[in-house]
């Protein structure tokens, strides 16, 4: 969480549109191929949902937002994308979108480094919460999976 808490979001327009952004994927946020091939049919829009009002307050943000990771900072870590999904998150996957794709969906982007996540960025809605919700599916459709989550044993 930011220290001190953010008083307001500020869109960092210096972030180039081609900048890669990572989002962790829970194994149950993807639709698995029904033929049990182990392949992913698609990513669900729930993978790109804003955090709750309660979580935003608890974590020190001035409004609902979505945590993502700046690719170039993540890749400075020798573990690469695995740095995002270590320990208890080992079953998670990682999806990649670009800053341009986020902005196309009316999200502002602010780099908010955290002690254990120096790559931390928040995406916050420039328009309404409703608009952010309709952005979930387009983002899920456009993202690239760069680390496949581990398929749950029972679906």
């Amino acid at each position: 969480m930011p220290d001190p808490p953010l008083e307001q979001f500020e869109d960092d327009e210096s972030l180039d549109g081609d900048e890669g952004l990572f989002r962790r994927l829970r194994p149950d946020w993807v639709v698995w191929d029904e033929n049990d091939t182990g392949k992913i049919s698609r990513v669900s829009g729930v993978a790109f949902q804003l955090q709750s009002v309660e979580a935003a307050e608890r974590l020190g943000y001035p409004g609902r937002c979505m945590s993502i990771a700046l690719e170039r900072t993540v890749m400075e870590d020798p573990r690469g994308v695995d740095a995002l999904v270590g320990g208890p998150l080992a079953t998670y996957g990682v999806a990649r979108v670009t800053a341009w794709q986020m902005r196309e969906q009316q999200f502002g982007l602010q780099i908010v480094p955290e002690l254990d996540e120096p790559w931390h960025v928040v995406a916050f809605p420039l328009d309404s919460i409703s608009r952010a919700k309709t952005a979930q599916t387009p983002l899920a459709e456009k993202c690239k999976i760069v680390r496949v989550p581990q398929r749950p044993a029972i679906l």
Binding site: R26, R42, S44, V46, Q51, S52, A55, R131, T134, T137
Partner: protein
């Protein structure tokens, strides 16, 4: 299903029929709200996941939803609250009303709710249960139209969305 939830969905039906001068009985509840969806869906069972019978998937999904009650704060790695009791109650009640439809994709949400999602070739319809009387709908149509808001404010007849998702095999 609570009376409040039924009322919630009754409003949708009343709104949907308001401009057509059609008679719609009161207290139609969820079963009626989804009756057209169910009718259309039965004729075209093509969706992400629909490999087993209605009874079986309703049973499986009900168990799946109940398991969400074990998710603790931060379960999504992004600080999500636990899935609320109201969301689990509402979702388990609603899933009983979805028999006859293609099996939806079901997942816990970062808002502490449960989402049902149908997706077919560019059209996505998601129903997020946040509490027994708090249901939000988000749809994205192939035409580019999209909308999100309370189920009670749904601007189009639910059957229109159902037609788009379930009934046109050419799309």
């Amino acid at each position: 299903m609570t009376l409040a939830s039924q009322t919630n969905l009754r409003r949708v039906n009343n709104m949907s029929y308001a401009n057509r001068n059609d008679y719609e009985p009161q207290y139609v509840g969820q079963a009626s709200a989804f009756s057209h969806v169910r009718h259309v869906g039965q004729s075209s069972l093509t969706n992400d996941v629909n490999s087993n019978s209605d009874e079986q998937w309703v049973h499986d999904v009900t168990i799946q939803i109940k398991e969400y009650s074990s998710l603790e704060e931060g379960w999504d790695s992004y600080g999500a609250p636990p899935i609320s009791i109201g969301a689990i109650s509402g979702a388990t009640a609603i899933v009983q009303q979805l028999q006859g439809l293609p099996r939806p994709f079901v997942a816990p949400t970062s808002e502490g709710g449960v989402t049902f999602e149908w997706h077919r070739k560019g059209t996505n319809f998601a129903m997020e249960i946040l509490d027994v009387d708090d249901i939000e709908v988000t749809y994205n149509l192939l035409s580019g139209d999209s909308w999100s808001g309370a189920l009670t404010d749904l601007p189009i007849d639910a059957s229109q969305v159902a037609d788009l998702i379930f009934s046109d095999p050419s799309r």
